[in-house]
């Protein structure tokens, strides 16, 4: 009794085998496109049943092993006898075509025969630990066909690719199929593809492009080379999408980049007349953008480019400074132009960074470094901090009169100033200069634009912290308060019924905020004294316990001068007014008399007298009529003085306090360094000299660049004042003394 079909006869090997052979032949004919009728279900069932029976029969009629081997045998035989020869007899493209077709046929054949032999897969192959039918079929093809052919195939493929690189047409679909074949023959791993094809392909590619590179670099300029390089990369990427496997892309691109860009980088970028620096010089933004794109993908590729950029910007900046220096020696007006040109330069190169270089941090850094170098140079002895402050001063003064400056230009100029300030290391110098000029603007010019002033302060505060701007903000607030005081004082005078005397306003300043001004114990003319007293009384009513100190050097006075020809109104400073009023009583006074009467210092008096007698308007006659004031001079009221204007301003030349500003700031710096050192030591307790110095520099860098010698001195000083002490064992370390 047979286990299986009860009434089935046993199928013996030869019979079963021949049935199968018949079907296989039929199948081959179909697949090779020869005329043949298609399979019918009956035949299918017959094959399937035959095999089924042969496998389920009891041994020794269980033919599972033989069937498996037969299956393999079918493929082997087919491969050796038919497939391989047909491929071998062709060449080049035809060979590839045949190869590809045979592969497709093989796939179908495997599928069909697997269906017939399916029963084997259900039990036999697993039990016997054999690869399943599908795999077995594929393996046969691989072993018998692929192995022999792949080398030649690869040669042909590479030759075709070479053709395409030389701009000839090739059959891309074919290449795609063949390369797919390579991949599939790897049976779930890419190593066939990689070892049998990709490796050689990449080699070919690199040698092809290195040949190209060397010929291009000889003949072309940098931009031309870059265009070609970009083209090549694009074409290779396309190649991948058309027929290469996507895994190849990164390797391919890297290979081409290495050859075209990395190995020639130095030669390319430094090319005479067309390399990086030349492009920057000639403002070739497109080419620079291309350079960025190409080198962006390469690690460290952008460094030489950013280096060139930095050098270029630095040299441009230095040229600017030099030009300004030259101009300065010719005429004295320097600052407007230079600062404006620096701002323009900055704007220009910032555009480069954002557009050509896609906001890359490397280029921001390069720009910053370049600017820091030349922004900290002096022009004609004036530091950039001071120049910037002067620029702001002039700008604000001008913007009051020049209504054509609309809000946005003012806004943008202010922003540019703040940006530029970022590059200057002595920011505290700027702060001091700006403060002094601000004071002058507020007090002397009267009509200042509060809004603009506040805008720039807000921006500075945002960038550099509240401490930077607190004093200046205080100054602005003082001016607001002063206005209130003016109206308050007027009401007070009105209410008290006392005659006011002359028209009189006082602006009260908070001492800490404003720069310190020299004052002197001037003896005022009587008329003025009573005004001062009444204001003091008024102020007492407003706030008690405050001392008012009068700064005469900043005061302004309008005097009516009754000259012979016509009365002229003179706008003078308080000192000048005091001197002139002295002549109300007498016609003539000597220097000494004036000195005693007014209680002024020599310097001040000389200055004042000079402005009244030796400059443009000779309101006083001097004897002797020399150009300088000496202690033996005597002065007389010049009744003959006249001018075509009815009202003239007699300027008092300001003292050059530039050096004083710098000195003051340097003093402040010492305190800042002290505070910083103590703060650091308090938290660290023990610290070495090197670390202390470097940390101190870092903390202070926001405001200024401290000098190392000065820091050393301050440390010594602090040791002397017993804030720090040296460690006994290690003299390089300091300890905090509580």
């Amino acid at each position: 009794m047979v286990f299986g079909r009860i009434d089935r006869p046993i199928i013996f090997w030869e019979d079963g085998s021949s049935i199968i052979d018949e079907s296989v032949t039929k199948l081959k004919r179909i697949l090779e496109g020869k005329p043949e009728t298609a399979f019918v279900t009956e035949q299918y069932m017959k094959n399937y049943t035959t095999i089924y029976d042969m496998c389920t029969q009891k041994p020794p009629e269980n033919y599972s092993d033989q069937l498996y081997n037969k299956f393999r045998g079918i493929f082997e035989e087919y491969a050796k006898q038919t497939v391989l020869p047909s491929i071998m007899e062709k060449h080049d493209e035809y060979m590839l075509r045949e190869f590809s077709q045979r592969w497709d046929i093989n796939k179908i054949m495997v599928k069909w025969l697997s269906h017939f032999f399916f029963y084997l897969d259900r039990f036999y192959t697993a039990r016997a630990n054999l690869p399943n039918l599908n795999k077995a079929g594929m393996t046969c093809f691989r072993d018998h066909v692929y192995e022999s052919i792949h080398f030649n195939a690869k040669q042909v493929i590479i030759a075709l690719i070479h053709k395409e690189r030389e701009d000839q047409q090739i059959d891309r679909a074919l290449l795609k199929n063949v390369l797919d074949l390579f991949v599939q023959n790897g049976m779930e791993s890419m190593d066939r593809y990689e070892n049998d094809f990709e490796k050689f392909f990449l080699e070919e590619t690199t040698s092809y492009y290195s040949r190209k590179a060397s010929s291009w670099i000889q003949a072309d300029t940098c931009p031309e080379y870059m265009i070609k390089a970009e083209e090549s990369l694009k074409k290779e990427k396309e190649r991948v999408t058309h027929y290469l496997h996507s895994d190849t892309e990164p390797k391919l691109i890297k290979g081409v980049q290495d050859v075209l860009l990395v190995s020639v980088a130095k030669d390319l970028l430094e090319m005479e007349d067309s390399g990086c620096s030349a492009l920057l010089r000639d403002d070739k933004t497109d080419d620079l953008a291309r350079m960025y794109r190409l080198y962006h993908a390469i690690p460290k590729g952008l460094e030489p480019v950013s280096e060139a950029f930095r050098l270029h910007v630095t040299s441009e900046g230095n040229t600017l400074i030099r030009q300004a220096e030259d101009k300065a020696t010719n005429n004295n007006v320097v600052e407007q132009d230079v600062i404006r040109r620096i701002i323009d330069l900055h704007h220009k190169y910032m555009v480069y960074v954002t557009e050509c270089f896609q906001n890359h941090t490397l280029f921001y850094k390069a720009l910053k470094q370049a600017f820091e170098i030349f922004c900290n140079k002096k022009v004609a002895g004036i530091s950039s901090a001071e120049l910037l402050a002067m620029f702001c001063d002039n700008f604000f003064k001008k913007s009051l009169n020049d209504k054509s400056n609309d809000e946005s230009t003012i806004e943008s100029t202010i922003e540019n100033v703040v940006k530029l300030l970022d590059y200057i290391s002595d920011k505290d110098h700027f702060a001091e200069f700006y403060r002094k000029k601000l004071a002058r603007r507020l007090l002397l010019d009267r009509n200042f634009n509060d809004e603009h002033e506040r805008t720039i302060l807000t921006k500075l505060k945002a960038q550099f912290g509240g401490q930077f701007t607190s004093k200046m903000e205080g100054m602005l607030t003082d001016m607001q308060l002063a206005k209130e005081h003016h109206s308050g004082f007027d009401t007070y005078i009105g209410n008290s019924g006392k005659p006011k005397g002359m028209d009189f306003t006082v602006t009260v300043l908070t001492t800490g905020f404003w720069p310190s001004y020299k004052t002197s114990d001037l003896n005022l003319p009587l008329e003025m004294v009573s005004c001062i007293e009444s204001f003091k009384a008024y102020y007492e009513t407003k706030t008690k316990h405050r001392k008012l100190m009068l700064i005469y050097s900043l005061g302004n006075c309008h005097l009516n001068g009754r000259f012979d020809s016509k009365p002229i109104e003179l706008i003078v400073s308080t000192y000048q007014a005091a001197v002139l009023c002295a002549f109300n009583n007498t016609e003539r006074l000597t220097y000494q008399e004036l000195l005693e009467q007014l209680n002024l210092g020599h310097e001040d008096l000389a200055r004042v007298l000079h402005s009244l007698s030796c400059s443009k308007y000779k309101i006083l006659n001097k004897e002797p009529a020399t150009k300088t004031i000496s202690k033996t001079d005597s002065f007389e009221f010049n009744s003959k003085f006249t001018d075509k204007l009815r009202r003239i301003r007699v300027p008092l030349p300001p003292i050059d306090d530039r050096r004083r500003v710098v000195e003051d700031v340097d003093n402040d710096r010492r305190y800042a360094i002290d505070a910083c050192l103590v703060r650091i030591m308090k938290s660290r307790k023990v610290f070495s000299h090197q670390q202390l110095v470097s940390e101190c520099i870092e903390q202070l860098s926001r405001m200024f660049k401290p000098d190392i010698k000065v820091i050393k001195k301050r440390i010594e000083d602090l040791i002397g004042r017993e804030f720090l002490e040296r460690d006994t064992e290690n003299p390089n370390t300091y300890k905090y003394v509580a």
């Binding site: 079909r5 298609a38 279900t41 069932m45 049943t49 089924y52 599928k111």
Partner: protein, 96 residues
């Protein structure tokens, strides 16, 4: 004729069932979906000279039950004991 197939038993009985039902059998399924010159000339007829009518009938019922079950209707499929052996062999053959 794509909607139904005809299964013929050893005695010649013809069972016409839905294609979908027949596909429950892996064997029939692979036969019906083989590529290359098969589907077109196929007339949807499969002969089983080894399977008796009773068994084939039961098998067809099984196909439909299987479809129902997979759609969520979980009923029982009753098998007469005397059919079991042949039924199982047929199942093995048909890969069901």
């Amino acid at each position: 004729m794509r909607e139904t197939v005809k299964l013929i038993s050893m005695e010649g009985f013809e069972f016409i069932i839905d294609r979908e039902a027949a596909m429950v059998s892996q064997t029939i399924r692979s036969m019906l979906t083989s590529p290359g010159g098969f589907s077109e000339s196929k007339d949807g007829v499969v002969t089983f000279p080894d399977i008796s009518t009773t068994i084939l009938e039961k098998i067809c019922q099984y196909f439909y039950w299987s479809l129902q079950y997979s759609r969520g209707k979980e009923t029982e499929f009753h098998i007469e004991p005397e059919l079991t052996l042949e039924l199982m062999m047929a199942a093995n053959y048909l890969h069901t």
